[in-house]
Structure formats: C-alpha cells, structure tokens
Symmetry: C2
Subunit: 295 residues, 2 copies
C-alpha cells in the first residue's frame, strides 16, 4: 500500500472511532449536540489522533485506553476552532468551505458548543478509566491533555496571539506563540501515545521535543506558503499575513532564514526519532510530510 492509501485507511478508521463518541442528537439539549457534531464532522485531517495512535504503535504496547483519547484530542482541537472563528475573535464565516459554527447556530450556541466540546473531551477521555488496569497511566494522560490544552499550552498561545494582533512581535514571542498555539496539542498527541504505548520517561520527553519541533516547522512552513504558493494550490487565500499586518517568520527574518529554520527543526526531529531503539516508518513519513508540505 502506498503511504497515501495507508494514510487514508488509517484516517477512516479514526473517523469511525471519533464518531462513536459523539452524542446522539435527541433530548432537550438537541441543538448543542447538533452544533458539536456539525463542528467535529466539518472534515479536517485528523492529524492529532493519527499522531497519537502512531506514537503509541511506535512503542509497541497497544491498548483500548487510547481510543477515547483519540476522540478527545480532536474534540479539543475542534473547540479551539469554534471559539477562534467567533465574531469577537477572528470573525471567520467560512472554514474548509462550510459556514462556521456561529454562523449556523448563532454566537451564543457557538460559545456553548466550544465549551461543550472542551468538557466532553475530558468526559470522553475519562472513559478510559472504566475498564483499565493502568489507572495511573490514564490519569497521567488526562493531566498531559489538560496541561497542553490550557494556559501553559494551546490557550496560552492563543491569548498571546490575540493580544499581539496588529503589533510587532519579537522573535522569542513568535516562537512562544507557535510552540504553544500549534505545537502543544501535537506534543499532547505524541506524549499520550508514548505513555500508553509503554515508553520510558526519557522516551516520553523525546517525543515531546520531536512534536514541539514538528509544530514549529509546520507553522513556519505555513508562513512560507503564504508568500510562495498560490490560492489554487493551498485552497485558501495567499498573502493574508501581509494583508493582516501579521508578524510571521517570513516578515521577521525573510524567506531564506525561514526555510533554514524549517530545515533545522525537521532534521532535528527526524534525528531524535531515529535515535530510538524502535521504528515506525509511517510516523516518520507523516512527520516529514507535515514539515515539508507544499499545501
């Protein structure tokens, strides 16, 4: 099977697992169930659950505990998109060609749908306790999920990003925003996979570092594509960073240095992975694809 076909099959499997946790659309609170499902089923690459699952496979021990976490991380990711799109935030009316949640369900329901997804992620993750002989590891994974989502993770990055909109951003702050806003959930994915896969403490740390580098490379590549690609290839407008007067690695350091950075972090991440006594070629290829993507 080609990498692309393998990826497709894996994503379809994950898609099924995510769906199995979504609420049935009935009862007095039907509208919120619909708004949640509309948001989660809007498409998306399911990258975070995929990284989690493959990181778990890398270390060999698979267990049923990971399944609720695959759905949970995608719910968290979706909740952040729902709130990001709100009128008081980015005011986006479309995402992946579909109307955003607040446009369809109203601003109040979109706030509540984001909240609902955040909490339901933990409710889902906590199901992993129900039938496990490793409650300590599951507990640790819940802690990682919360930490990487919260004020020292994704939400922390978002708040700095929001605050700096329209202002010049120094490099250390830009680094901070990218590592937290984009990197943190990737770190959570790969760390949770590693913990449940039976990795050692050093290996869990290594996976955190790999994910952090991947997140940074991914985000800088995004900056590069915004000036070098076309809207036909990307499927979204290019040149938007300049239009929005957004500081990026490209505006800050120029295209050449941005490319060097992507190269540097990609190599470092790949080298770290290769230093492990175990291998997962699919994961290696996936990470390489993320860091050097052309769209």
């Amino acid at each position: 099977m080609s990498f692309k076909d393998e990826m497709k099959a894996k994503v379809e499997e994950i898609e099924k697992q995510i769906r199995s946790f979504l609420p049935g659309e009935k009862g007095f609170q039907k509208t919120i169930f619909e708004a949640m499902n509309y948001s989660v089923l809007a498409g998306g690459k399911r990258l975070r659950p995929l990284l989690m699952q493959e990181s778990c496979r890398l270390f060999g021990r698979e267990g049923k505990e990971i399944v609720p976490f695959l759905a949970a991380i995608e719910m968290i990711h979706t909740s952040s998109l729902v709130h990001d799109d709100l009128p008081a935030m980015d005011a986006d009316e479309y995402r992946r060609g579909r109307k955003t949640t607040w446009v369809v369900y109203g601003e109040d329901m979109a706030i509540l749908a984001g909240d609902a997804l955040m909490i339901y992620a933990f409710e889902t993750a906590a199901r992993a306790f129900r039938d496990t002989d490793r409650p300590d590891l599951v507990g640790r994974c819940i802690g990682i999920l919360a930490e990487k989502t919260g004020i020292y993770g994704m939400i922390g990055g978002q708040t700095v990003d929001v605050e700096m909109t329209g202002k010049p951003v120094p490099e250390d702050k830009l680094d901070f925003i990218y590592r937290l806003k984009t990197g943190a959930l990737l770190e959570a994915s790969m760390m949770i996979g590693a913990v449940l896969g039976g990795a050692t403490e050093e290996q869990i740390s290594l996976m955190e570092q790999v994910a952090s580098d991947v997140g940074l490379a991914f985000q800088i590549q995004d900056d590069i594509l915004d000036v070098t690609s076309t809207s036909e290839v990307l499927g979204k407008p290019v040149g938007s960073d300049e239009k929005n007067e957004k500081t990026t690695y490209v505006t800050l350091k120029g295209l050449a240095e941005a490319r060097e950075k992507v190269e540097f972090y990609s190599r470092r991440a790949a080298a770290a992975l290769e230093s492990l006594p175990v291998r997962n070629e699919f994961l290696e290829e996936l990470l390489l694809m993320l860091m050097t993507r052309e769209k």
Copy 2:
C-alpha cells in the same frame, strides 16, 4: 462556635486553598492569568467546594486528593459565569458589584479566560494523581466532574435555558434546566466528596439525589425571592424574571405551589441525609440554609 462563624472559618480556609492553585501573573500570557484570577477572586460563597469538603467529612475518610478538586469545581463554576456574562449571552456588565470579566479584559480575552478556567480546572484536578495510592478513585472523580459540567450537566442546562429565553417553558423542561444548570455542579461536589470520603456506591447515589433536590429547591427559592423580597435584602434587582418575561416556577405554578415544592424537596433531601449511618451537622445546617434562604 456559631454556624455562621464556623462557615466563615471554613470558607476562609477554602479561599486559601483555591488561591494556592491560581497562576502567577507573569510571562507572555500574563493577561490571561490576570483575567482568570480577577474572575475567580471576584468573591462568591464558595458553596461548591464547601459542599464537597463537608460531604467528604461526612464519610470520614479525608485525604489530600480532595484539595485540587475543591479549587477545580470553583474554577468550573467561575468559567460558566464568565461566559454567561458575555455580550452574546446575558450581556451583564456587573456581577457582585464589580465589572464583569469581558468589560475589564475585552470580549476576546473573556472568551479565552472562560476556556482557560475550564481547562485549568482539569489540570488542577489531575494533580490529585501525582501523589495518591487511589488513582482509580481520582479518575472516577475526574469523570464525575466532566460529566456534571458538560452536555449532560451544567452546559446542557445552559443551552436549553438560552434557547428558551423569551419562550413559554413547560414544567418538565423547566425542571430539566434547573436540575442541570444549577443542580449538576452541586451533584458533582457532593459526589466527589463522597467518593473521596470512602462512601459506598449506594451512598454516592444518595448524595447525588440529595444534591439534585437541594439544587432544585435552591433555584425555586430564587424564583420566589424574585417576587417576594426587596432589592435591599437581596442585593440585586427584584422582579427581573417578570421584566425579562422569564418562565419560572412562580409564573408557571404560582407562589403557593412553588413554596410547596421547596418544602417537598427540602424535606426529601434532609430525610435522605438522615437515613445515612453517619452524620455531619454542619452539612445538614448548610443545606437547610441553602433551601430556605431569605436572600
């Protein structure tokens, strides 16, 4: 010590414990830390942690695992107030005599502060795993916290409440809103206390039922006070339900039947508590106070 003095001392102790988990206001994401702390430290009766602690004491076994949960439940409660006050929701500019979070920090930061508190509640609760020999019980408590906060709990109740604003609400739906919006977090508080206190399955269920009745009685008493009290006694405007064309137990069933309901649920809750082989007089008095309060 009088009940009032005892209450004051206990609340002060809880206040200290909550503060010990709040983030230090430094770093790139300083603003979000400030917005969180402003929201949590806006005052409030700290009722939910108090109920949790006293429910734990009722069953005798105390342990350090409960401390993070005391802070977590208050963070969840605060997060719901921060989002409820937003312009797209109730558009409240003042709460307890202070400007609401969105007025001080802007709408975008208030959305993020509510999100941050929700997630940080779980990050805090997950600290209980760090040094425990009961990870299964801590895991169960995290599950209860998520379930009672989420779409089948508080947030579920809020969404139906938001949807029904300005519309006639039948009694079963009003009951549903009250049990979920107000009752669910009280249930979480008393159940988590019971689980960590070493209660049996039947006792945990009983505490859930008691809390549900207390929540309902508390909320109906709120409806009653809105028409029978004065703004001087309540410290907030009276007659607001009529002004907002809000369906309440009083508008639906009249004052006499509303009073009977409070009486019924109060008695049932008290009787259930008394049926236990253990007693906690402070808890009994606290619950009675909540259900029959004059302000």
